[in-house]
Amino acid sequence: MKKQHIVLLSGILLILAFVIGGYFYKNQQSKKLGFMAKENVSTFIREHSSTLGNDDAKVYIVEFMDPACETCSAFYPYVKNLMAANPGKIKLIIRYAPFHEGSDYFVKILEAAKRQGKYWETLTVMFQSQSYWASHHNPQPELIWQFLPNAGLNLDKIANDMNDPEIAKLIEQDLADAKTLNVRKTPEFFVNGNPLPSFGYDQLKALVEAEIQANY
């Protein structure tokens, strides 16, 4: 065999091994997560997790997100559309993965808003105003406050509630679960325990539709 052929062949074999290895790893990973979804539901949904949608829904979208994450904000309307297109069949569960520096500040505000019954309104306001306070080179968390009244919040109460150690504990729990589930980027979605095969809106849509097909 010519030497050039040896090099080419080895290269092809190595790349093949890489692709096959990747395929097996992903398969095994989604099996493991699927198993966890059945046996260990609490890793995906905690008592404190905020949920949106019908309680009888059979398709659960668990979203690990960060209020300061741009992609999370960009994905939010898509997820809502997906829910609107399949009324009553999807339940959204929000989990926190505040990976941006200082973004637990916003989670705290969000959780404090929940106590005023304005969780989803506040989340919407946060995502809409995100570009003002979360600019990458110059994050200014305090700028969020001027937008909060739009969600109909009592700001004094927010400022007081957000420092509740309960909230810090809840963030810690979510981060621990994110680590268990190997969430390293936001947003990360699990549909009935299955992770996205690769990141993207179409992949999320396909996974949700497959689960709807399977459960209804």
Binding site: K3, Q4, V7, S10, R184
Partner: protein, 145 residues
């Protein structure tokens, strides 16, 4: 004539093994970051900068066996070896992490995988760089004879 052919052959084989190690390490490192989604830390990136070009550079040397490839590959491999060595010192706690710059973002001492208690990712890197450097030095001596 056949003797020269033979030495040439084993020189080529040594270079081929270097390339093989570099390729396996490159794909392995990509597997960790792209498939298993471990974020590479700063030091890992510096090692990657030294490792990834070796794959292409050594393969060029292999296609039409070109001795001078050793001269070009050695500095990269040596630089990679030093960073890997430093990384392992950090990892083992011999140098405290606080005196180096990569504690923000991804920690350079986080334990992602650990096979049999020794084969951590930085250790794997050190092993490949050491082998590549050793083989290149052997090749260099053989070629200068």
């Amino acid at each position: 004539m056949t003797r020269i052919d033979k030495t040439n052959n084993s020189n080529w084989t040594i270079l081929f093994i270097c390339w093989l190690i570099a390729s396996i390490s490159t794909l392995g490192s990509l597997f960790f970051s792209e498939i298993m989604k471990f974020p590479p830390c700063v030091l890992c990136w510096y090692q990657r900068i030294c490792l990834f070009p070796l794959v292409l550079m050594l393969s060029m040397g292999l296609f039409s066996f070109d001795k001078s490839v050793v001269k070009y590959a050695l500095p990269l491999a040596l630089a990679g070896w030093f960073i890997a060595f430093y990384h392992n010192l950090l990892y083992a706690g011999i140098i405290p992490e606080s005196i180096q710059p990569c504690s923000q973002g991804v920690s350079c001492t986080e334990d992602y995988i650990n096979l049999f208690g020794i084969f951590t990712i930085p250790m794997l890197s050190l092993i490949s760089f050491s082998t590549i450097v050793a083989l290149l030095f052997i090749l260099k001596r053989r070629l200068s004879k």
